[in-house]
Amino acid sequence: MSQSELTREVARRVFASEFNDSTYTFKESDDERAPNYALLPTGDRANRVFVVGTLTETEDVGDESEYWRGRVVDPTGTFFVYAGQYQPEAASVLRDTEPPAYVSIVGKPRTYETDDGTVNVSLRPESISIVDDATRDRWVVEAAELTLDRIEAFEEWEAEQEAPESGSTAPTNEYAEMARERYDSPVVNYRNDVIQALESLETVEEEEQADDPEATI
C-alpha cells in the first residue's frame, strides 16, 4: 500500500474566482515527495479540487504532441484546464467532447509565471466526466457552503487578532494567517462571489417556473 493512499488529499470545493487567485504554493515539509499545496485566499490549503462547470471551448495548443486546453466556466469565472500525454484519459475527454457540456473535474492546481511576472493558476485534471445540470447545481451549492465555512473561520480568526484581549477562544487558523500575509484581496470579495453564484441558481429556477416563454428574455 503506497503512502499516497494512506494520506489521500481531500478535494476542496472552490469557485473559479478564488481558485484563480490562489497563486501562492507551498510544501509542508522538505521531503521532495511532499505534496504541493495552493493557498486559498479564504484560508485553507488545496492539493486537490473537485469542480463542476460548463466546458465552453477546447483547443489543442500542443506543438509536437497533443496538449489540450479547456475552458470550464462556473458562476464566478473560468477554470483553465490543461491535459497532455500524461493525462491521456482527461485529454481524450477534451478531444472528444463537443462544447458546451457540463463536466466535473477532479484535479490539482498548478501555477505558472508568465514573462511579465503574473502568476496564472490552472487545473491539471486527474479525471473529467460529463455530468448533468442537477450535478452542476449541486456543486454550486456545495462550493458555496464550503466557501462560506472557510470565510466564517477566517473572520473569526481575524476578529480574534483585532481584539486579543476579549478572551475569545477562536482557534488558531494557520492558513488564514498565511493568506493575510500573502494576498491583498479581502475575503469579502469571495463572499460576494458566493452570493452571485447562488443568485444565478435562483434565476434559473424562476425562469423555469415562468409559464410565459417571453418572460425569460
Binding site: 478535494a11 477532479v106 479525471s127 466526466s129 442537477a134 450535478t135 462560506l148 470565510i151 452570493i195 447562488l198
Partner: protein, 310 residues
C-alpha cells in the same frame, strides 16, 4: 494540595517501582521550574517531566501506568494517550507485519470496533478470535485521525465467559465519487477454502498460482470536501450501482479479451457523480450497504440568506 503537587504525586506514583531514590519534592521542583519560570502549560510540563524520568529509568511510555485508567467503551476513545479499561470481544486477528508486534486485530463492544496492537516485548497471554476479555490498563493511540488501543506490559488480561454483542460503527457519507482505485471491476479471487484474497497477476499471496473465481467489486473514494472516504462496493452493491451483472461483466471481458474494460466502463459511469452512502466501517473502509445517487434539486435559499447576512 496545589495543582502542581498533585501532578508531582501522580508522576512519583507512576515511577515508584522503577526509581527508588526520586522524591516527590524532586518531581515537584522540576514541574515548578517549567510552569513558573518557563511558562509551560501544566499538561506539557507533566509530559516533559514524565519523559525525563522515563529516560532516566530506561523505560518506554507503555511500561508505566498512569495509575488512573478508566472504564471506557470503544466509542469513547477520542484522545491519544489515555489509559482505559475495556471489556471487548476479539472480532478478528490480523497477521502482524512486524516482529515487534505479537498480535494485532480488531476489538469490538456494543458501541463499536477498534484496532488493537499487542507488543511482543510485553509478554502477555495470547488473545483468541471470538474470545471476550476484560483488558485493564490499555493505552489509546491515534494515527491520522483513526484510533487504536495498545496492550502493554502493565495490561491485565482476564478472559470472560460471557458473550458480547458487537455494534457497528455505521457511517453516512454524502459527497462526490472522485476516484476509483486499482483492484476494482472484474477481479479474480483465490478459490482455496476460507481464502478470499484477490489474485494479483493470477497469483494468490498465500496459495500461489491458481485459476481464480470471478467477482465484481469497486474500491472508490467518496469526498465531501472535508474528508476523503474509502468505500468498498461488494458484488451486489456493484451490480446495483452500475446495472452491470457479474455475467455481463464476464461476457464483456471475454469479447475484449481483457478484464480491464469492465473497470473502464464502470469508472466512466460513476466518477464525478454525487452519492449518499451508508454502511458499517471496517478500519479505514466504509462498506457500501445503502447507496443513493444524489440527482435531485438542491435548495440554495437558506445558504443565500446566510451569505447575505454575513
Amino acid at each position: 494540595m496545589s495543582d502542581v503537587r498533585q501532578h508531582a504525586d501522580d508522576i512519583h506514583e507512576q515511577f515508584s517501582d522503577h526509581l527508588e531514590d526520586v522524591s516527590v519534592e524532586d518531581v515537584e521542583e522540576r514541574l515548578t521550574t517549567l510552569v513558573d519560570e518557563y511558562k509551560v502549560p501544566i499538561d506539557e510540563a507533566r509530559r516533559s517531566v514524565t519523559n525525563h524520568y522515563l529516560e532516566e529509568a530506561g523505560l518506554e511510555r507503555e511500561d508505566i501506568s498512569s495509575g488512573d485508567s478508566e472504564k471506557a467503551n470503544v466509542e469513547d476513545v477520542d484522545e491519544p494517550e489515555e489509559w482505559i479499561d475495556l471489556t471487548a470481544k476479539v472480532i478478528e486477528l490480523w497477521d502482524p507485519r512486524s516482529d515487534s508486534v505479537a498480535q494485532v486485530g480488531l476489538l469490538g463492544d456494543p458501541t463499536g470496533t477498534i484496532k488493537f496492537t499487542k507488543w511482543a516485548k510485553s509478554d502477555l497471554p495470547a488473545l483468541e478470535e471470538g474470545g471476550v476479555y476484560e483488558l485493564r490498563n490499555v493505552v489509546t493511540d491515534e494515527y491520522q485521525g483513526r484510533y487504536s488501543v495498545k496492550l502493554n506490559s502493565t495490561t491485565v488480561i482476564e478472559e470472560l465467559d460471557d458473550d458480547l454483542e458487537v455494534g457497528n460503527d455505521t457511517s453516512e457519507i454524502e459527497g462526490a465519487l472522485v476516484d476509483m482505485q486499482s483492484g476494482s471491476g472484474l477481479i479474480k479471487r483465490c478459490p482455496e477454502e476460507d481464502c478470499t484474497r484477490v489474485l494479483q497477476n493470477g497469483r494468490c499471496n498465500e496459495h500461489g498460482e491458481g485459476e481464480g473465481e470471478f467477482d465484481l467489486r469497486i474500491k472508490a473514494v467518496v469526498d465531501d470536501g472535508i474528508d476523503a472516504h474509502e468505500v468498498i462496493f461488494d458484488k451486489d452493491a456493484t451490480e446495483d450501482l452500475t446495472g452491470l451483472s457479474l455475467e455481463e461483466a464476464k461476457d464483456m471481458a471475454m469479447d475484449a479479451l481483457d478484464t480491464t474494460v469492465v473497470a473502464d466502463e464502470i469508472r466512466d459511469d460513476i466518477v464525478g457523480t454525487y452519492y449518499r452512502i451508508e454502511g458499517p466501517t471496517f478500519g479505514r473502509y466504509v462498506l457500501a450497504d445503502d447507496v443513493e445517487e444524489l440527482d435531485g434539486l438542491v435548495d440554495a435559499e437558506e445558504l443565500l440568506i446566510k451569505a447575505r447576512s454575513m
